[in-house]
Structure formats: C-alpha cells, structure tokens
C-alpha cells in the first residue's frame, strides 16, 4: 500500500512541479543591428546597439504617448520612453554579455550613452539605439559578445542583411556572427510551415544566443 501510495505521490509531485517550473514563451521580438566600436589603437571600446521591436510590442510601448502628427512619433516625443527602456534594461545587464579571451566579463559596461528611440511609421515599429562602452577599452585576441534574454521573454535575433559591423577595426580582425536557427523570428514567420519542423532546434534563451566573435591577430 505504501509503495503504491509513494508512486502516486511521486506522480502528483512531478505534476505540481511541472506546473511551477513552466517557462515563458517570448512576448517581445527584437531584431538587432550591432556595431563593435574600435579605438585607433585597435582596442574595442564598446558596442552600439540598434534594436527594432516587433509591431505588437511597439504598439504597446507607444501607448498613450502624445504625438503631434498622428501615426508617427518624433525622437523628442519618444525620449521619455527611451529613458524608461534604458533604465529598466540595467536590471537585465542590457542582455549583453561580453567574453574576453574566452573569459566572461562581469559588469563589463558603463551605463548606456547616446540612447534614443526611432519610430518607423510604415512598419509601425520602434528602434532603440544605445551605446554600451566597456569600463576599460579591451585589447584582446578574441572578444565575444552575446545578446540574449536568459528568461526568454524577449527573443533576440539578427536582421537579415549585414546585422553586425566592425567600426574602425584594424585590418587583421575577423568577424564571425553566429545566427542560431529560429523558425519563429519575425523575418522567418510563416504560419503554413513549421508544423513538421517545430521540434527542431528549439531552445530557450541561450540556445537562441546570438554570438558575435571578433578575432584580432
């Protein structure tokens, strides 16, 4: 009797634990365009981010913001929102993780600078621009920047064309961009496909991690 009771209990516990340990699916999609900034001496000074949000989140974020011309927002009108964005990003370490010579850097960046929001009235989407400077410029053989949300509430992905650029990089630096397969990213979204392939390559946060690797000789 106790054995049966115990196995029933185990099942029950698994059920409840599964309920509690559920994972969120993304509610926000960000299409990234990234620039790695180099100093004249070849060290990397920081990352310039341009993150374009999906249309639903853009509509949500711009809700209630006063606009002079209906259907569009100016940079000035969006300035308070950009401030909120940047402030709340701090809690999430800007979702930007740096690795220097294979070693993860904790608190590598200064607070964001040059931040602003742009609105594209045609696509009805917002783009957040901000620059993250390293606390100290990094001179290293290998630098990796990863951008992802560990809780996977936000799905980060690179844009289709030339999403990462090196600005002012020495000639001997090479760039490698790792674009994980993500069938559910806006660019690739199609309702008719994916039923068969829906199990392939799906992971959360990190396995969707977008890696920028720069190697300089």
């Amino acid at each position: 009797m106790l054995y049966r009771l115990a196995s029933l209990l185990t099942g029950l516990i698994c059920l409840l634990a599964a309920g509690g340990g559920a994972v969120a699916h993304p509610h926000v999609w960000v299409t990234m365009s990234e620039e790695l900034l180099f100093a004249p001496d070849g060290s990397v000074t920081g990352v310039r981010n341009a993150w374009t949000f999906d249309d639903m989140f853009s509509a949500f974020a711009t809700q209630g913001i006063e606009q002079k011309n209906k259907g569009t927002f100016t940079r000035a009108e969006l300035a308070p929102l950009a401030q909120v964005n940047v402030d709340s990003l701090k809690e999430y370490a800007y979702f930007t993780y740096a690795k220097v010579n294979g070693k993860r850097q904790k608190d590598a960046f200064l607070p964001p600078t040059d931040y602003f929001l742009d609105y594209d009235p045609k696509a009805t989407v917002l783009t957040l621009h901000f620059t993250l400077s390293f606390k100290a410029p990094v001179k290293a053989k290998a630098i990796e920047i990863e951008i992802y949300d560990p809780e996977f509430f936000i799905d980060f992905g690179f844009g289709a064309n030339n999403p990462v650029r090196l600005v002012g990089a020495p000639a001997d630096c090479t760039l490698l961009v790792n674009k994980p397969q993500d069938d559910y990213f806006p660019n690739e979204l199609r309702l008719d496909k994916n039923f068969a392939t829906s199990e392939a390559n799906i992971g959360m946060g990190a396995s969707f991690a977008n890696k920028i690797s720069v190697a300089c000789r």
Partner: protein, 371 residues
Amino acid sequence: MKRSTVASNAFSATTVAVAAALLLMMSALSAALAQGHPFGIRPPDATGFTGWIIAEQSRFYRALSGLIRAAKTDGSALWGLMGISFIYGIFHAAGPGHGKAVISSYLVANEETWRRGIVLSFAAALLQAITAIVIVGIAAALIGTTAKMMGDTVRVIEIVSYALIVLVGARLFWVKGRAFRRTWHEVVSGAKADGSATPKHDDHVHHRHSHSAHTHGHDHLHGQAHHHHDEQRDHDEEDDSVLPWGHAHGPEPEELAGPGGWHRGLSAIVAVGLRPCSGAIIVLVFALAQGLFLAGVASTIVMGVGTAITVGAIATLAVAARSAAKRVAATRPGYGSLALRGIEVGAALLVMIFGALLLTGYMASERTGLF
C-alpha cells in the same frame, strides 16, 4: 510481533509523509531555481516537449498580430483570430503565471472534487482575462495612460495576488497542519496502546467508529454556521475528546469542501486570477491601436477559455491522483489517513511556497513592462 508491524507501519507512513513534504519543497525549489538566472549562467536548453510548447506558443502569438491587422480590412479574418486565440490559450497555459501549480496544490490540499477543480480553473482563467480587459479598457482606451503606467498597475496587482496566494496557503497549512497533528496523535499513540494492551483490537471496530464520526461531523457542519472559525474549532475539539479513534479514516477534511467551501474557493480564484496575462495586455493594446479593441476583447476571452481547458485538465489530474491516493490509503485505516493528511499539509505548504517565491521574485512570472 503484532507490535513491531504496527510500529513499522507507523514509521513507514511517517516516512512517506515526510518524504512527500520534502519532495514537494525540493520540487518547488528546483522550479524556482530553474527560473532565476544569476548573471552569466545559462539556462538549460529547452528541447523536446517543453521546447515544442514554447515554439508553438510563439508561433500562435506571433500570428495574432497579423490576424488583427487582417481583420481591419477583412471581417472573416476574425474567425481565424478566434481560432488562433483559442489554441494559443491552450498552449499558453503551459507557461508560467496561469496558476496551474497553485490551483492544483490547492485542490489537493483541500480535497476538492474534480468538478470544483474545473469550475475553479475556469473562473480563475476568466477572471484573468477580465482583469486584462479592464486594465487596458480603462487605462488605455478611456484615460489614455502610457504602457509604463499599465506595467506599474500590473505590478501592484501582482503583489496583491501573490500575497493572497501566500495567505490562502497559510490558512490551508494551519487547518491541515492541525488535522495532521491530530491524526498523528491518534494513529501513533493509539497504535502504541493498541500494540501493547489490546493486540486483538481490530480494524472493524475502528471502521464503525470512524463512520459515526463522519456522520457526526457532517450533521454538525450542516447544522451550524460552519464558516466561523471558532465553531469549526469547537467541532474539531469535540471530535478529539469524544472520539479519539474517530478520524482513523473518516473524510474529515471535507469540512472544507461542500457548500461552505465555495466562499473559500473564491479566495483561491481571486488569488490566482487577479494577475492579468501580459500577452493578453499586449494583444489588447495592439488591437486598440489598430482600432479593433472589441476584436482584442473577444480574442482575450477566447484565450482565457483555452487557458482554462489546460489548467482544468491539469487540475483534474491532480485531483485524480489525490483520490487514487485516498483509495489506497483507505485500505489502511490510521497510517493511510496519516499519509493523506501529510500530502495535504505538503500541498498547502506548496501553495504557500509558490506564493512566497512569486512575491519575492525568485519564481519568475511573465514580465509586463517595457522590458
């Protein structure tokens, strides 16, 4: 010989109860740890079933915006919107923040029927949809506040909701803890007396006793204003003194179910359903921006129905597992009911733990805000 079996049975029953409580706590803890990620620690990959669920949710969620846009020009797209909203709701309930764990634990702790479990699930899910509609309807559509204000509102509601979950859990823990202690005394000290003095004292007698206790309890319950805690306590203590064996396998926790249980069920519904779903809020605001707020409202309600189906199914499983455990336990008066009381205490504790983890932010729910 008889004595040693009795002692070992008592021991095993206790072990099972303690192990259950420990496991429940561990699973709650691991669930919590799986959600909080300190800097730089990657979450495990979600593959297989979990990954599939996440992928499907993402897919349906992303389809919603296209369908709302399409509905602006083509009314028939509304049907598609409703269909996708429904399926999305079914999948989405698998995500955090829809009270599967809290509702299931509550049902197990409270010995509720599956029917009540389903009603509870639907009520909570619909309340969740209504909160989202009310927030967006008032804040965005009428007053025209910003997303930040809405996010802040949701955060306040969240805190209230999580605090309520802790309270519901604490109340259950108190009631069930007392029941467990009582059963413990009856079974363990009773067993000792049984083993040494009257080894021939058989189950038959217990059976009769417990039945009379059961009837007595019910009469009492219906005859008086059973909402009042003091009366409840009187009733409990009376049972204790008059019929020390009475609870051997009597369905005493049912004092919480039945007609009197509904207003207690309400507290669970509110605790779980108060917090709106972030996805619904985003969809509603988007629909509003597209000039199709009502389509958003309909979509949110249909989503809620879908969510309720999943939560209700999981809750039914939990109730089924519990009543199976009860049937097994019924074959052993005394130790069986002690183990059952142990499960209830563990489940009540789990409700409390879930609430506390949500409240302190160790167990992540969905974010509603600008990030």
